[in-house]
């Protein structure tokens, strides 16, 4: 694996047709070059027809949904009456839940800004492009093993410290307990899976073990982000009530 050359030069030497042309094909970075012998079909009508079928499926599903569930409409906007809780649309409730823990400067500006910046730069890092397993280099192994618990503690402290410094003494003990431990659940899950994958061999006969063992760092970071996003959004949507206290979704408040 490691003695495979990183780059390969190919020469196009039909000088009558083309001036000399050298192409550098960097290992594992240009999927386009390798798949050119694939079978192809016409865009019109084959692909177009397929898109129309997809469109129809989406349309029928949404028509069915629209016939069964009505869009909410409450009373006319009234600046004098603040509902409790006042909730943003569901896709921002993860952010709104962060606002419960951190000052707006952190939860509303710094974190979303970092997330957007991180998403943009993903394809510009070689480590993401090569996609080598996080366990590929034995020398890195202890570092990864140490980084996971460290990161977990860091995330825990991140959510815990604001709780203790300007903690809301008015909240019941159950609420404070959940505030402390729910935000760490995604990190425990994904970190646990990461540590588990260290015990699997990339040559394992079991497909799941083989799959998990081959995952690169970028996979683990993105998965952590996705699980965190899902959990925070679900918490904000279903489990937060008046004063952003914990509620059960099937109890009305």
């Amino acid at each position: 694996m490691s003695d495979e050359p990183k780059e390969r030069a190919e020469l196009q030497s039909d000088v009558r047709k083309n001036p000399r042309r050298i192409a550098f094909i960097t290992r594992r970075t240009s999927p386009q070059v390798r798949t050119q012998d694939d079978a192809r079909v016409m865009t019109y009508p084959t692909a177009l027809l397929k898109f129309i079928v997809v469109l129809q499926v989406a349309f029928l599903a949404l028509v069915w949904w629209s016939l069964t569930v009505n869009a909410p409409l409450e009373g006319i906007a009234d600046p004098m009456h603040t509902p409790n809780p006042a909730k943003a649309p569901w896709y921002f409730l993860g952010l709104q839940d962060l606002l419960h823990y951190f000052p707006p400067m952190v939860a509303g500006v710094l974190i979303p800004g970092l997330v957007v910046a991180a998403l943009i730069v993903i394809p510009y890092f070689n480590i993401n492009i090569e996609g080598r397993s996080i366990w590929a280099k034995p020398a890195h192994r202890p570092w990864v093993m140490a980084a996971v618990p460290l990161f977990t503690v860091l995330i825990f402290l991140l959510f815990a410290i604001p709780q203790f410094t300007h903690g809301d003494g008015a909240l019941p003990a159950v609420d404070r307990f959940l505030d402390l431990f729910v935000p760490i659940v995604p990190t425990l899950l994904v970190g646990g899976a990461l540590l588990l994958s260290s015990r699997y061999s990339p040559q394992s006969p079991k497909p799941f073990q083989r799959w998990l063992a081959g995952k690169p760092l970028s996979f683990w970071i993105m998965t952590w982000f996705m699980v965190e996003l899902i959990v925070l959004t679900a918490v904000g949507t279903f489990f937060r009530g008046p004063g952003w206290s914990w509620v059960l979704p099937w109890r009305s408040y």
């Binding site: 999927p31 692909a47 629209s66 006319i76 996609g131 996705m226």
Partner: protein
């Protein structure tokens, strides 16, 4: 005259050929021309790897996102016929949709649920693209365009959220716009620019309306165009190497 020959006669007529240029015929040349000589379709390549059309690589999530966007444009235009971006008429228009306009509730539902679906699908599409490694060179920039499309989708949904002018929309937007205050130095100025005032009021409704119905959709159409054009320029959809 069978249906087939009937179609062929239409497609061979002078009128049809003046519009679509490629005439009757089902040779690959004709089919290639049908793509190349069409303003919208020529964003795409004439041929496409058949493996890229299967369910597995994409789960059709990009196509589904585009589908919801189409549905939103059509239902959105219909809704504009019944809507005034002013206080309190906006809310009265919602009530009219509910009780006066034929199928008004259905129209509003379809627009609302398609909007939620689009946000969800754009996220799902992003994760799917990531997990199959389709962001790698030469597709880096299309990924970046995608991130901006995701932000546009969120902004479209967020600006639309205010338009019914009910308690739900008013306070959701108030919560959101208060976050802007936390931006250092220019937070208050940004918020003022967005709302046209210090509070969510009639000016904010008008600004959100213009953003929601004109500026953001135009930006989205432009970026979606670039997104699709880049798919062709980057060598078509990514499918992993065949294991030999």
């Amino acid at each position: 005259m069978t249906i087939k020959t009937g179609f062929e006669r239409i497609r061979n007529s002078a009128l049809w050929r003046s519009i679509f240029r490629s005439g009757e015929g089902s040779s690959n040349l004709h089919r290639a021309q049908a793509v190349q000589q069409n303003l919208l379709l020529h964003l795409f390549s004439v041929k496409i790897r058949s493996r890229a059309l299967e369910f597995k690589p994409t789960w059709f999530l990009g196509a589904l996102t585009l589908s919801t966007f189409f549905i939103l444009v059509v239902t959105g235009i219909l809704l504009m016929f019944y809507y005034h971006p002013s206080v309190p008429q906006a809310y009265a228009d919602m009530k009219d949709l509910q009780f006066v306009v034929a199928s008004g509730v259905f129209l509003r539902n379809l627009h609302r649920w398609a909007a939620h679906a689009m946000v969800f699908l754009a996220f799902a599409h992003m994760f799917k693209v990531f997990y199959r490694g389709a962001y790698r060179p030469p597709r880096q920039f299309n990924w970046v365009i995608g991130v901006f499309l995701l932000l546009l989708t969120l902004l479209l949904s967020y600006t639309g959220y205010l338009l019914p002018w009910d308690q739900l929309s008013y306070w959701a937007v108030t919560v959101g716009s208060n976050i802007a205050k936390a931006v250092p130095l220019m937070g208050d100025k940004m918020r003022f620019l967005l709302l046209g005032g210090h509070e969510v009021n009639a000016n904010a409704l008008l600004r959100f309306y213009v953003l929601h119905c004109v500026i953001l959709p135009l930006a989205a159409v432009a970026l979606i165009g670039v997104h699709f054009w880049r798919i062709r320029k980057d060598g078509g959809l990514y499918v992993p190497e065949k294991k030999s």
